[in-house]
Structures are given as C-alpha cells and as structure tokens.
C-alpha cells in the first residue's frame, strides 16, 4: 500500500475493485465504516454482489478479466469531463515529457513488437527502443510544459485513452452505462484538489494475464485524480496473507532479492549489475544496499577483492516463477521440492497438472501444521500411489502464534509479536527447521565437498545453536561491520563492506536492541491516524509514501484539514516522514516528488513493463467474447505453456471466476481442520444466477458438475440474484463463481476449484490467471 489501513478513515470515496474487503480483510471495514460515518462513499466493483457490496453505497458489476477496460474508462471519463487534477498532473507526473516520435500504437500492439515463438505461437515481445524519452545532448529529458506537443506523454496518453469511451467500456465489462457513469462521477469527484479517493484491491486485480497492467491502471487513475501521496488516497493492495508483504520485502519473490533490488541476470557479474544502477533518483544508492546485503549473506567472506561474493547469488537464467517450476517439474527436470506453509495442490493453478508434476519428483519435503493436499498428493482421487515413486517427508510446523518475530502488514507496518504458546508435540518453527537443515547441509559440503560448495560453506550463519530471533532481526536491520552498532536508517549503508544490512528498507526497524521500533506500541491520541510511534513502517517509518504530492508547488497542503506537511515560509511543518528533501524550499522539490524513479516524477507512460507503456485491454486467455479493442485477443506477451489446455467458448460457454470466503483462509489448512469454522461454512459450492439455474435445470443446493478444458469438479450450487448475467458485446453472458478453499484432505474436504484454472500467467509477474476462464456447468443426477 502507498497508504495504510487506518488511513482509510480519511477517504472521501473508496473504490474496492478486484477485492472483497468485507470478506477477506474484515478488519479493514472498521476503518472504511469510520470513513463512511464521516460521509465517505464506498463503491464496490465486482462480478458478484459480495458482503462488501452489501454495505456499499454503489455496487457496479464487472465481467471478470476486464479491470483495465473499466479503469481506462474512468481515466478517460476524468480527462474528457475535466475531472482530473491538472496542477497535480503537471507537477508530479511525466505528462510533459516528450517521447520518441517513432513510438506509437496500432491494432493492439505498440511499436517494437516482434515475434516471440519462445512465448508461444503468435506471441510477441517488444523491442523498446522507441518507448523512450527524447533527451538533449546532456541526457536531460525534453519537456513541453504546455502539454500540447503531440509527442508529449499527455497527448499520447489522452489519445490512447480516448478509445475507452463509456459505451465501449460498458460493452466490454458488462457494467451498464448508467451504473458506470454513477461510479465515474462519484470516484472522479476526488479529482478536485483537497478531495481524497482510495482504490483498494487484492487478487481480483492481479491474477490475470494482464495483472500488472491492471495495477498500473489503478496507479494512473490515482495520479490523474491527484490521489497518490495524500491522506485518504492511495493505491492500496490488500495483501491476502498477514505477512506476504514481509516475505516480498525479504526477497521471497523469484525476480528480486531483498528490498526490491533485481535478481542478477544470467551471466551478469558485479560490475555489469552495478552498471544498471539508475543514474538519478534514490536508486543511485543501490550499490550500497547490494553490498550491505551481500555482507549480511556472506560476512567476512564477502570482500571488495571478491566483489563481495556477488558471484554466489543465484542467477535468473530463465523463468523461475512457481508456475514455471511446475512445468519443469512435469518434465522431470526438478529432483526435489521444499514446500513450507504452501499448498500449491489447492492454491496453485491447474492443480491436476501440479499433482502429476509432483509425481516426477524424487523427493518432496513439506512443513505444515496439518497434512495438506500437497504432501498427500499421491492420495488424491485421480492419482495412483502404486505408480508414484516420490518420497514425501512431512515436517510438523509451528503456527504463527507459536513463534516470535515480526509480521509486516499491507500498510508496511513491521510489528513484533511475542510467542503466545509453545508449539505442540514435535512441531517446530520454520526457522528451526531451516537452521537444522542448513547446518547439516553445510557439514556435508565441508566434509565431502560437492558441486559449488561456496555459497553454502561461506554463508554467514551465526544465530546460535538454536536460532536467536533478535540476532536475525539485527542482521536484517543492519549494523556497522566493525562495531556492531545498529543502523537507524539506510542512509548509513555503505558500498565498501563497512555495513551489513539484510534488507535496506528495514533499516531502523530494529535500531535499538532494548527498544526496537518494531515493538513500539504508543497509540496516537490525535491526528490522522499515522501513529508514528506505533511499530515501524518501512521506509524510515514513513506512513504515506510519495507524500510530497500532498502539497502544491509552494508547499500548501491540498487539504489543510488532512495535511501531512505545510510550508510556513521558512520551514516545513511535518506530520509524516518526508519523502523528499525537507531541507530546501518547496519549489525545489515540486518536480521531484517521486525519488524512486530516475526522472523523479511518476509515470503515466512507463517503459519498464513487458507488455506496453500504457495499459491496454486484452481479453483473458480464455474468454467468451472477442476483444473489442483490437484484433489481439489476449496479452501478446505472456508465456503460453500448454496451448492444448485452452478451452473454446463453443465447448465452455460460461465465464468462471474464483474467490475466497470470510469463513476459510487460503487453501483451508488452518480453517478446514477447525470444527467451528467447518460448521459455519461446511462445504465447497459454486454460485450462479437464477437465469443460469433455469437454463441448466437446477435448484438451490443441487449438485452440479463444472468442467473446464483442464478437468471437472462436482459441488453444490447456490442459486442467487447476487450473480447476474452481464451483457457483453451485445450478448448475455453468465458467470459461475467458485471459492477455491477446498481440497481432498482435512475435516472439511471437497472439490478443488483450481483443478479448473489454467497454467498461464501475467506477462510481467507470472501470477496465474485464476480469476477469469471459461467453463461449462451441468446438473448431476
């Protein structure tokens, strides 16, 4: 999140799109309702009338897989109806920057498209030479502050979005014109200076072949309306798991190391990696963060002479996403798999393929609190244990309340938790298991050698006989190598090996052994809910990022009642930690509000993405309709692993989507084994409209079979007007909704919705397209 949970209470309008905040983040409703008590309006955009829609002011239906079209429609509405925040756009975005005249867009493709058979038949990758700023001889970006140059971002942007008129958007998304206009009028009202609009979303925004562009669309809309960097605004990703933010911050994603530094590329050495360091903006400090991280990894073994053992880092030689891994596994290329607190055989896409892939493993180690479907894959109804040679080890794990440490929430607050009780029996925390495993492995390498022992035997691993968590925290926070003095800010990181810092953005969270910031619990008594003395918010305890944007060029807050900063003529009055140089007058930072981009401005035009500098609507990989916007049916840049898995609308005429319920959590391991939670939501089911129920001849509670090209499942059906058919490109289309919590193990077991979802993912992140595919549904019996 750019903002944080409590800040929701400061919003004038909240749009929950691609999320279901009542059901999946119930506590957030406390703050949303606090806002509503102050007159805030809540908009819910969702294929289903959810428990969030039940308490919303405006509910707008949307076809799964059309968020970019919907948001593009809002962006265009703001432009053509003059609802955008012009001054903000000019100051804080790259609207005035000039782009290479060669750049353009035709029929679904931007310039530079070239065939990419590696991605799949007909797929494309881009030569991005023309996706570039025009620069003068010194390398400065050329700009036209009047925004009138036909090659300036604003003109290209306006032109691109003009295609997303209300009628077109309605036909693509299925949202009726009047409902779309109601949403547009209400949300775009926050384009008025001083008003705050909040977009909150979750996996209904990201789990598409164009998921990154969906999120880009949220960011662009918020920039155009002046809603980034202000209290009550923001692009707010509601994380689906309590510490997934922390996991990402500490390098759990396949394409980045800690603190969002890129993973080294294939064959890339230290010098080549550092040559990619941006030449302006705060990322110019990246070598300091990298070296401090390498020192945390390899300690004394990392020296300037050996490039701090940069060579020990794994290389991103090919797609190393979890989706890709299972395709390699299916081909027998992966010998073993560690699966900690993960249940891909329920939570991954195309789970029947996942089970079969796991049968190709020599060994599988799972650590979980119950035997889950991944460790028990060989017992699945469609598997034959006699034919499976995989050796499975199941390690009993401790739950989160049974270990101490920090959890980082969606709002970037890193909060210490004490251990509540010891784990039962032989259950152990993951870090205990990893520690023992690492030490045993290291001993083997030391005694017996082996292929490339360096990264293991040289690993700095001094956490005691039993892992001492404060010691780990200190290493993540960082300290001076020579003295052990803890860092209070990443500003003290050095690139000469004199500092150690596991994840630079966490510097300051454990700055004092006796009183670490992550243990602070002082609540704010008045103010905007920033709570600066409660826990630690990365970076540098900043509660709202990009916060220079909360004031105009002269330093006057857009909304004096919810000011984060105020320039009094000689000094900044600060309520939050500045995301800008507060030591200079406001005029000097007005066009430098985004210190993490080299151009120091936010990007309406973003050349970094694989599939286009502007978001463009493409249909999901499987769709019931043709792409109205161009002849390019689905994202041309995503990897197509199994073309034969793609269902045709003639065979699978209905739109399918998946989601979670309040009563269960993720793959259900914690909740489906809990009798009280089984009681409140006992079984797998699907939801359809009364009109679809009439068509296939079922009543509420009947058994149905749902089939996709990947398989078929059976479950009960809920027939409800909360799902309605949508008119898409002139044709009425029905939706089948399914929760994905269930699997064949546990106290409450049932069909796995992900048996139906496809192996395909976002062109930028590979997150699978769980939320939109096609199916058939029929009565059973």
């Amino acid at each position: 999140m750019t903002n944080h949970w409590i800040d929701y209470r400061n919003s004038d309008v909240i749009m929950n799109i691609g999320g279901n905040t009542s059901e999946n983040h119930p506590i957030s409703m406390k703050w949303i309702q606090a806002a509503m008590d102050n007159g805030c309006k809540l908009i819910v955009v969702d294929p289903r009338f959810t428990r969030t829609a039940a308490v919303a002011d405006v509910y707008a239906p949307i076809r799964p897989g059309t968020n970019t079209a919907f948001l593009s429609g809002l962006i265009n509405y703001a432009i053509v109806n003059n609802k955008y925040h012009e001054e903000y756009v000019k100051l804080f975005t790259n609207a005035s920057s000039l782009i290479d005249p060669e750049f353009g867009y035709t029929e679904g493709l931007f310039t530079g498209a070239q065939d990419a058979p590696d991605l799949g038949d007909g797929q494309k990758s881009y030569n991005k030479d023309s996706w570039a700023y025009q620069r003068d001889a010194e390398g400065n970006i050329l700009k036209d502050e009047t925004l009138e140059d036909p090659n300036c971002v604003w003109q290209l942007f306006k032109n691109h979005y003009s295609r997303y008129d209300v009628q077109t958007v309605s036909e693509i998304t299925g949202c009726p014109v009047d409902k779309f206009e109601e949403v547009a009028e209400l949300f775009c009202s926050t384009g008025e200076p001083g008003k705050a609009g909040n977009i909150s979303y979750a996996m209904g925004m990201t789990q598409f072949t164009h998921g990154s562009q969906n999120v880009r669309s949220c960011a662009i809309l918020q920039l155009v309306l002046g809603n980034v960097g202000i209290s009550g605004g923001g692009v707010n990703a509601q994380r689906g798991q309590s510490n997934v933010q922390g996991a990402c911050d500490l390098g759990q994603l396949f394409h980045i190391v800690t603190g969002y530094m890129p993973m080294p590329g294939d064959g890339q050495d230290f010098e080549a990696y550092n040559a990619t360091t941006p030449d302006s903006g705060y990322w110019t400090n990246r070598p300091k963060f990298l070296v401090s991280m390498l020192k945390a990894f390899y300690g004394d073994k990392a020296t300037a002479e050996n490039d701090f053992r940069f060579d020990y880092l794994p290389r991103l030689d090919k797609d190393r996403s979890s989706v890709a891994y299972y395709t390699y596994m299916a081909k027998g290329e992966v010998k073993g798999l560690f699966c900690f607190a993960d249940n891909p055989v329920v939570g991954g896409a195309n789970t029947s393929r996942k089970r079969k892939a796991q049968a190709e493993l020599d060994w599988l180690v799972c650590a979980d609190i119950f035997e889950n479907e991944t460790s028990a894959f060989w017992k699945a109804p469609d598997m034959n244990p006699a034919e499976i040679d995989t050796e499975v080890f199941l390690l009993p794990a401790a739950m989160h309340f049974e270990k101490e440490g920090t959890v980082t929430n969606s709002g970037r607050w890193t909060q210490w938790r004490n251990i509540a009780q010891a784990p039962p029996g032989e259950a152990k925390p993951d870090y205990w298991i990893v520690d023992k495993l690492f030490k045993a492995e290291k001993k083997l390498y030391e005694e017996e050698g082996g292929t490339y022992p360096g990264p293991i035997v040289d690993m700095f691993w001094e956490y005691g006989d039993e892992v001492d968590i404060p010691t780990v925290c200190k290493e993540i926070n960082g300290y001076e190598t020579a003295t052990g003095t803890l860092l209070d800010t990443f500003g003290k990181c050095e690139d000469d090996g004199s500092t150690i810092c596991g994840s630079w953005i966490y510097a300051g969270y454990y700055q004092d052994e006796d009183n670490p910031n992550c243990k602070r619990r002082t609540r704010e008594t008045e103010g905007l809910g920033l709570n600066p003395e409660f826990s630690f918010s990365w970076p540098v305890n900043r509660r709202i990022v990009y916060n220079r944007c909360s004031c105009d060029a002269e330093g006057n807050p857009w909304n004096p009642d919810k000011a984060l900063f105020r320039w009094d003529g000689s000094d900044w009055e600060t309520m939050d930690v500045p995301d800008f140089n507060a030591g200079v007058p406001p005029e000097e930072t007005a066009d430098k509000a985004f210190i993490m981009t080299p151009e120091l401005q936010s990007r309406l035009f973003a050349p970094g993405l694989a599939d286009g500098p502007f978001p463009e609507h493409y249909e999901p990989w499987e769709s019931v309709t043709d792409n109205k916007m161009s002849g390019v049916q689905f994202n041309p840049c995503c990897m197509v692993w199994y073309p034969e898995d793609r269902g045709d609308r003639a065979d699978y005429p209905y739109i399918a989507t998946t989601y979670r319920l309040t009563e269960h959590y993720q793959t259900g391991i914690m909740t489906r084994n809990m009798p009280w939670l089984k009681e409140v939501m006992p079984e797998m089911f699907c939801e359809i409209s009364p009109s679809l129920a009439d068509k296939i001849g079922v009543d509420n509670g009947d058994m149905v079979e749902i089939e996709s090209k990947r398989g078929a499942i059976q479950c009960k059906v809920a027939v409800t007007p909360r799902l309605k058919p949508l008119t898409i490109n002139g044709e009425e289309q029905e939706i089948v909704g399914m929760p994905w919590h269930w699997g064949f193990m546990g106290l409450s077991n049932g069909a796995t919705a992900n048996d139906l979802t496809p192996t395909i993912g976002c062109a930028n992140t590979t997150i699978p397209e769980f939320k939109a595919f096609v199916c058939d549904i029929r009565r059973v019996g």
Partner: protein, 263 residues
C-alpha cells in the same frame, strides 16, 4: 452492577460470523454438523450448542439487492416469557439485566422454547441459550461476540448509554439517507437488552415485528404461579409434557401468522 445492553448496529455488520465462532470458543461449545443448503447462513438454527448466529437475508429489489445480515441470539427481554413459564424458576434475571438459565435447576421440560417470542432457547440435557457471557461480564469484560466483532457492529455496555448511542445512530443513518432506519428492542417486551439498529423493518431481518408473550404464558404465570412446583412434579412425571408440546406448536403458529399478516 448497572444494567447492561448489547447493541447490534446492522448497518455495520458484514456477515463475517466472527461472533458465532467467538461464542463457541469462549463458551467451549462443540461444533455442530451442518451442510450447505444454498445460503451462507450456518448453522441453520439454534441448538443446545449454538447460542448465536447470523441470519443472511437476501432480497431482490428491482435491479439492486439488499443483503441484510443480523446477529440473532437471546434478547434478554424485560418481559421474559421464558422466565414466566419456567415451572421450576430456573430462569432468573441477574442484577445487570441478563436473563439466565440455571442449569442445575432446569428440568429440560422445554416450556421456555415455546414461550420465547424469538424462538431462542434449545433443549438438550438442559435448556441452553446465550448467557450474555456472564463469566466475562461479571469480571468486567464484554461478551465474546462484542469483543470479536471487527467492525463494531456488536457493542456492549451500560444500558442507558448504549440505548442513547443506538438512538443517535438511527438519527445519523436517517440523515445519511436511510429513510427506514429504525431502532428495535427499545420498547418491545418492556425493552430488550439486545437492541438493534436496523436499516429496514424488523421482518426484513427475520425478526418478529411485534413480539409478544402469548396469552397462554400469561395465564400460566397467573393461574399456576402458586403451584408451579407441583406442576413441575407433574411435568417430571410426564403429565403436563403433552400440554407443553401442544403449546409450543400453537405459539409457533401464532408467530407465523403474525409475520404473514405483516407481509
């Protein structure tokens, strides 16, 4: 101890059922077997082990939908039919206003079930229902349902203060454009200790519009009051059990007719 009240602000309820689970956990009530029947509502009814539940009320309203969630449990009525009818005086009122069943006295006759206008108590080995988490309240804690509620839809405290808050909330909701916003339980049955802030009429939330203690229950109180214990002996011997069974059916029918009439 001052009188207490539970206020259920349905405008803030998101149907998460946290209250149901917290009730089971605090009171250590076993889970009951349930099945999916086409609604998110579960369990479908009270049981001796299920003392509160959230009703999911779904209405199609032209192009739009109303999906009302309502916490449902013992109302702790001032004019408590269950207390009146209990032949062994096992149901008592605490000094803070809660209606409690003393299980050590209860003979599991089921009279309270038929007498309750809200159809709340259930009989197993004894009769059971919400205790207002007496063990919490008597130790200065709010009931588990209110404690766990993430949105503040269920709150608990001093009866006068909570009632004033509820009335203010109704005004606020009306000002926000909810024309049908209303209070429920302020006057019903002498005043309930579970008061509701509703966005619509009570029947839309699955609650009786005009709850009354039946005339039969009143008669029983007046006529049999002096000889309740004798009656209880009779009951234990089974002599009066058939009367209660018949009476329970009658009450149920009366209630259904009343709801039908309102609609």
């Amino acid at each position: 101890m001052a009188k207490v009240m539970r206020v259920i602000d349905t405008s803030k309820c998101v149907g998460c059922k946290g209250c149901q689970v917290a009730c089971k956990q605090w009171n250590q009530l076993p889970a009951v077997e349930t099945e999916f029947t086409g609604s998110y509502e579960n369990p479908a009814d009270f049981t001796p082990e299920t003392w509160c539940r959230v009703k999911f009320n779904e209405y199609e309203n032209g192009d739009s939908i109303n999906w009302y969630f309502s916490f449902y449990s013992c109302m702790h009525c001032t004019e408590a039919g269950c207390m009146d009818i209990c032949p062994v005086d096992a149901i008592v009122r605490t000094d803070y206003g809660a209606v409690r069943i003393h299980q050590e006295t209860c003979i599991a006759c089921g009279a309270c079930v038929g007498a309750c206008p809200f159809d709340v108590p259930r009989v197993g080995e004894k009769a059971y229902k919400c205790t207002f988490c007496a063990d919490r309240v008597e130790n200065d804690h709010i009931p588990a349902c209110a404690k766990t509620c993430p949105t503040g839809a269920i709150s608990f405290g001093d009866a006068d203060e909570k009632l004033a808050e509820a009335e203010a909330r109704v005004n606020e909701l009306q000002d926000m454009g909810h024309a049908n916003a209303q209070i429920y339980g302020k006057d019903e049955l002498g005043g309930l200790k579970s008061v509701y802030v509703l966005l619509d009429s009570p029947d839309m939330y699955g609650m009786p519009v005009d709850p009354t203690v039946s005339f039969g229950t009143y008669l029983w109180k007046v006529a049999m009051g002096p000889i309740k214990t004798v009656a209880a002996v009779g009951l234990a011997a089974g002599a009066l059990s058939s009367w209660f069974a018949v009476r329970k059916e009658e009450v149920k029918k009366e209630k259904e007719e009343k709801v039908a009439a309102k609609k």
